[in-house]
């Protein structure tokens, strides 16, 4: 690991000011950053510890719930209000990582965790995300944990989070304190960036921008399902995952928001899928049509072609369960 300075911030403005310095980086649970620092995939010159800023509370607010950035994945999954009203989020969290990791992993860190593309991890391989302009060894290389939607000719890395997929289906908003100026809030599709020709830019965050919380609006559907398909039954990243928030009225789907993991560089959602489902009567044909829409622009590699039928079947199974 490269040497770095360590600062423990006492309040939000000190934290933002400290992290504004070149090469400075926030550290929360450290479960992703310390891993990447050991491999020298990331090498910040300064770490700003944000664990003692009081951002570890879950509060009722504006008709929804405000989840502090340093609330751990364990605490969030076990929170009575989340279990009751946002079960898809509890389920997604519980499907991720391990008991030990969830005890350290935080809400903000989970949103910003880096890809698990093995070429990103291997500093001897070409990776545009790690060193812009170097090329992408994954394209034409060994692929499995890679994206098939939203990719570019420069990067096919995927966002590995489970939590963020559920949050996307729940219309979560990410709240950010910039180093100067007033707080900002982003819808998730505005928060993450597609790779294009700048795969190293993953979000809209600027230096010194601190995620302070995630706000969850009141849930728009009571039928919530998270399904994760992976290579082993536990402690593995998603090959494909689906989060659905559905409401039914008189046999018809009155609200649908469906988000996907394991498929794209960000927790994925397709407004056309949601629009097709809204107002429709559930049927196998409808769910197939939803999958057609979802996958119409998919660009799999040889190693990720299996995700097309897998995503279709996972979507169908989730919608069947949610509309039953």
């Amino acid at each position: 690991m490269r040497p770095f300075d360590y600062t423990r911030a006492e309040n939000v403005s000190d934290a933002c000011a400290a992290a504004f310095a070149p090469e400075a980086q926030f550290i929360a649970g450290g479960t992703n950053l310390v891993d990447l620092m050991k491999l020298e995939v990331m090498a910040p010159g300064e770490l700003v510890d944000i664990n003692r800023l009081g951002l570890d509370r879950i509060e009722e607010s504006d008709g929804g719930l405000r989840v502090g950035a340093t609330v751990t994945n364990s605490d969030l999954a076990a929170d009575a209000r989340i279990r009751q009203d946002y079960p898809v989020l509890s389920r997604a969290l519980l499907a991720g990582a391990s008991g030990q990791l969830r005890n350290k992993a935080t809400t903000g860190g989970n949103l910003l965790q880096r890809t698990r593309c093995p070429y990103f991890y291997d500093t001897d391989s070409a990776c545009n995300k790690r060193s812009p302009g170097a090329g992408c060894a994954a394209i034409g290389g060994e692929t499995r944990n890679h994206a098939i939607l939203g990719t570019s000719e420069h990067c096919i890395a995927l966002h590995p989070s489970d939590m963020a997929v559920a949050m996307r289906a729940l219309d979560a908003r990410i709240e950010v304190q910039p180093q100067d100026g007033p707080a900002k809030a982003y819808e998730m599709d505005r928060f993450y960036c597609l790779p294009g020709d700048t795969p190293h830019i993953e979000t809209v965050l600027e230096p010194g921008d601190l995620i302070t919380s995630v706000w969850l609006p009141a849930p728009k559907g009571t039928r919530q399902v998270y399904r994760k398909v992976r290579d082993r039954a536990s402690y593995a990243f998603a090959l494909v995952s689906v989060a659905a928030v559905i409401e039914m009225e008189e046999g018809r789907i009155s609200h649908a928001s469906v988000a996907f993991g394991g498929l794209a560089p960000m927790p994925w959602r397709d407004v056309e899928v949601d629009a097709l489902l809204a107002g429709a009567e559930p049927s196998a044909d409808l769910f197939d049509e939803a999958a057609d829409i979802l996958l119409q622009g998919a660009q799999p590699q040889e190693g990720t072609e299996f995700k097309l039928p897998l995503a279709r079947r996972a979507l169908r199974a989730v919608l069947e369960e949610a509309t039953l």
Binding site: G30, D35, L47, Q84, S90, L94, A95, Q100, K104, Y235
Partner: protein, 166 residues
């Protein structure tokens, strides 16, 4: 940097480079070699310790971030003689080479506490209510601890016995 850890009930002052992980602080600087380094990347659970009562992977945590925390390692689980859980591991052959065992013991201690607090798991049927010490629940909740000798049946049975007696 200077920091204070309370390790197994004793306050310890340390002067450390910020790069030192909690695992290395325990093993190298405090000579508590019970906690093991398997992968050093959060993938095996051999380094599991309890911090303020919760199980974590000490290999992915920087020691300086734990200033003021209470740490329990496998050395601190037994008060001079093996506890219920350790005894159960012996009775049920919960190990072969023993390398993963300190992590298994710390993890199981934290896991039983999580269960007592009513935390659900990925395999729980519902998100409300009490969760029993079924084989499936134990396996899922212990999936962060890999056993290279594959002693899972014994580990599972040992944890169930200790949990039921607690």
């Amino acid at each position: 940097m200077t920091l204070t850890l309370t390790v197994n009930g004793t306050e310890r002052q340390l002067e450390l480079d910020p790069r030192v992980t909690l695992l290395d602080a325990l093993r190298v600087h405090l000579d508590l070699t019970g906690s093991k380094k398997g992968c050093d990347h959060g993938q095996c659970g051999a380094c599991t310790v309890l911090v303020n009562g919760r199980r974590i992977n000490s290999c992915l945590s920087l020691a300086v971030m734990h200033d003021g925390d209470e740490i329990t390692t496998v050395e601190g689980l037994a008060n001079g003689k093996p506890g219920e859980l350790q005894q159960a591991f012996v009775e049920h052959d919960g190990f072969q080479c023993g390398y993963c065992t300190p992590g298994q013991l710390c993890s199981a201690t934290g896991m039983l506490q999580e269960l007592a607090e009513g935390w659900p798991s990925h395999v729980s049927e519902t998100l409300e209510g009490e969760y029993g010490l079924t084989e499936a629940e134990i396996s899922e909740r212990m999936s962060g601890n890999i056993c290279r000798c594959s002693c899972y049946p014994g580990i599972n049975a040992a944890i169930r016995q200790a949990g039921e007696r607690a």
